[in-house]
């Protein structure tokens, strides 16, 4: 059979796009709060107020006249990231991982001149990457030194952890690993590998690429079930506290792990995708329904919410397959 039966999906508690849009995003995410989430600079500001760690802010360029300041911002850094404040889907993000003798290198080793970097900033300001082409800001951030725990799990990109936070409860998590197919991007529909992560332990439970199960990373051949996110406790705590700071009921938080600074918030997403269910091999609806049935959810502290989720949403670890 080409199609699966809708009743089977329903029984498994799998959420579809229509239900996500009207039942969760439409109901729990107030429209007026969207700018907080869609503008990365605003997200950064509220995160700072809420004591949620974010990558270091090196500078903001808001006018064409300030483009020259880029040089000043990126001086004396080991690497940096320039991104549009209102970009979506990872568009317009320039990552420089190595600076040597005044030359800039991208993760894939290609060189980028200072003039090209400035032009990239100009493009961002003109709204080339923003939704609807409106004028935008360029945000310059410090480079994340990603944790060695992920060596071999990612190809040319920063692996990040997407945690779905529903009414402050971290209900489901997955790690997104870039691949050659995804061109170093962490978007699942472009070919990144999604690894479902156990809420209780931070260990891998299941992995998919292009919505189909995989065992090993397609480029590095690393066994994906060995993945174990360090400092998971802190990461999930930070993710859960994004609820208070943003006010969004149904939120996708993108977290990264810095080798030195630990877990930090990269960005928020008011319309998180559905692929996380495939990555975890389980439907998200039963978890959402459980949270919805709680009467005292609003009074619970972040710690209580995390504990609740660890208790109820723990996965049985992936059974080793005899090879």
């Amino acid at each position: 059979m080409f199609f699966s039966s809708p009743f089977k999906l329903k029984k498994k508690g799998i959420m579809g796009m229509n239900q996500r849009n009207s039942g969760y995003i439409g109901r729990y995410n107030p429209r007026r709060l969207y700018p907080l989430v869609d503008n990365k600079l605003k997200t950064k500001i509220i995160a700072r107020e809420a004591n949620v760690t974010t990558p270091a802010l090196l500078g903001v360029i808001s006018m064409q006249a300030e483009v020259e300041d880029v040089e000043h911002f990126i001086k004396d850094t080991p690497g940096f990231v320039i991104k549009p404040a209102k970009g979506s889907g990872g568009k317009g993000i320039l990552v420089i991982t190595k600076i040597k003798n005044g030359r800039y290198y991208k993760p894939n080793g290609n060189e980028e001149t200072l003039a090209e970097i400035k032009r990239h900033v100009t493009d961002i300001l003109a709204g080339l990457f923003s939704l609807g082409g409106s004028a935008d800001l360029a945000v310059v951030e410090g480079l994340i030194q990603f944790d060695s725990a992920f060596d071999g799990f990612s190809f040319e990109g920063v692996p990040d952890v997407r945690v779905i936070v529903f009414k402050g409860f971290p209900v489901m998590a997955m790690m997104r690993l870039s691949t050659a197919a995804s061109d170093g991007k962490a978007n699942l529909h472009q070919g990144a590998v999604g690894v479902g992560i156990d809420i209780a332990t931070g260990k891998a439970v299941n992995a998919v690429q292009f919505d189909l199960p995989v065992e090993r990373h397609p480029d590095t051949d690393k066994e994906l079930k060995l993945l174990n996110v360090p400092k998971w406790e802190r990461l999930i705590y930070l993710a859960a506290s994004c609820y208070e700071m943003s006010g969004m009921g149904y939120l996708g938080t993108d977290m990264v792990l810095d080798r030195d600074l630990g877990p930090m918030l990269l960005e928020l997403n008011a319309r998180p995708g559905l692929a996380i269910q495939i990555a975890n091999g389980t439907g998200i609806l039963p978890r959402l329904k459980l949270i919805e049935s709680l009467t005292n959810a609003e009074q619970m502290t972040v710690e209580e919410r995390v504990a609740f989720c660890k208790k109820h949403f723990a996965e049985t670890p992936l059974v080793e397959i005899a090879s």
């Binding site: 199609f3 699966s4 089977k8 579809g16 229509n18 709204g127």
Partner: protein
Amino acid sequence: MNARIFFFTLVAGLFLLGIFQTVQRHLAFDIPWMPGETRSVWNIDAKVEFEATGKPVLASLTTPNSQAGYTQISQNAASPGYGLSFLYEDNNPQAQWTIREINGPQTLYYNIQLLVDNGSTDQSITEMPKLHEVEYGAAGVAADLAAGSDIIKDALKTSADAFSFTREVLKQLNASDPNQNVSLVLAGKASKTDILITLLNEAKIPTKRIGALTLEDGRRRQHLQPLIEVFQERDGKIESRLFDASSVKEVDRSDLLLWDQSGKALLELTGGVNSKVSFSMIQQDQPALAAILQKTDNEHLFNFSIHSLPVEDQSLFKGILMIPLGVLIVVIMRVLIGLKTSGTFMPVLIAMAFIQTSLITGLVGFILLVAVGLFIRSYLSHLNLLLVSRISTVIIMVILLIALFGVLSYKLGLTEGLKVTFFPMIILSWTIERMSVLWEEEGPKEVFTQGGGSLVVAVLAYFVMSNEVARHLMFNFIGLQFVVMAFVLVLGSYTGYRLLELRRFKPLADKE
């Protein structure tokens, strides 16, 4: 929960309102469900011939009153040199020709168009016609007074009311073996109709002489058939029935047009002699809608509909009123199927362009334009232009391409190619821009998915929007807009799976 009940009440209300308005319009104005339906229109000519005597001529021809089964669409008269007026006297319409002085044989024509219309009804009778003041026994009518009285007496015995009385009299008059009284009465020169009227008159039953025309396609030189309308009052209401003096059976009205209901003469002529009126008729099948529109032209029934607009604006609305159907297709394809399209309602606009260009030409033209546009646009991305000027460049480029394709196809003798100008240029430019960005960011696969999705939806929308039945229904029944709206609203609250999600989540569903 209350909001939900309110929502479904709203949807049901809209749906019912739409259906009600549609059915009401169908019943009240007789607008057909199908576009091809035709209705019969009778085109009847009355020819009046007479010999003018050189004096002022006044000729009044009684014309049909409104009646069950037929609705007058138009009337006119051809009569060179005559003054003509259509009068309405004593509830009876007339055509009146007048001229100061004329000599010799004259021919006047009167033409009426009647729509076969089951919705029209007879005029209600407000007062009993007066009894005729016929001199019983004069002019050879009922030669024997006593014989007539006997017939009446016999009929009275075996009847209950005016109608059964008439039937009884007719039975006697038309008996195959007439008795002595009847033979005596019939012996005179008077027609059976005259005799019947006289007898009924004598029995104090009001009657009216009717001239009826049997409608049969292609008949010429027809004359009116005399009928008798018999009246009686019952429970304060006046009823009437038609009788034919030469038959006992009730008159079958299905093909009868009661032309002359005046009860007087069909033609009143002064200043002429030897007058003669003959009729000829043809039946035409007209598109029902045109016939109904003609009919309502005078009645102002359509005042609040689009039909009251000038024709030019009507044709504009014909297009606009189809858009909801296209939008419905988009909603279905996105919400129920889960197809990706580039730009939410771009497929509808493309479909509208297809309607102008015809499908194949449109598809070829669209794909060609977008492909060439994408090719040139890929060069523009190297130039590092600002967004607005880049899109503007693409717009100018699209216009040049359209001009180029137009001229090229014309030179090659493919006049179909000229239709490429019907494409909305701004939309095309945005499509090219969006596809180009998509190509760079997500790769060609996504471009083909979204482009293909858009085209599939556009073609589907085209088929629905160009469907004759759909066009007819949407244009003539505004209520259907509410029905479409109700559907869209219901789809807007659909939270179930999309068809393509059943595919996407299949590995997950099959997992144990």
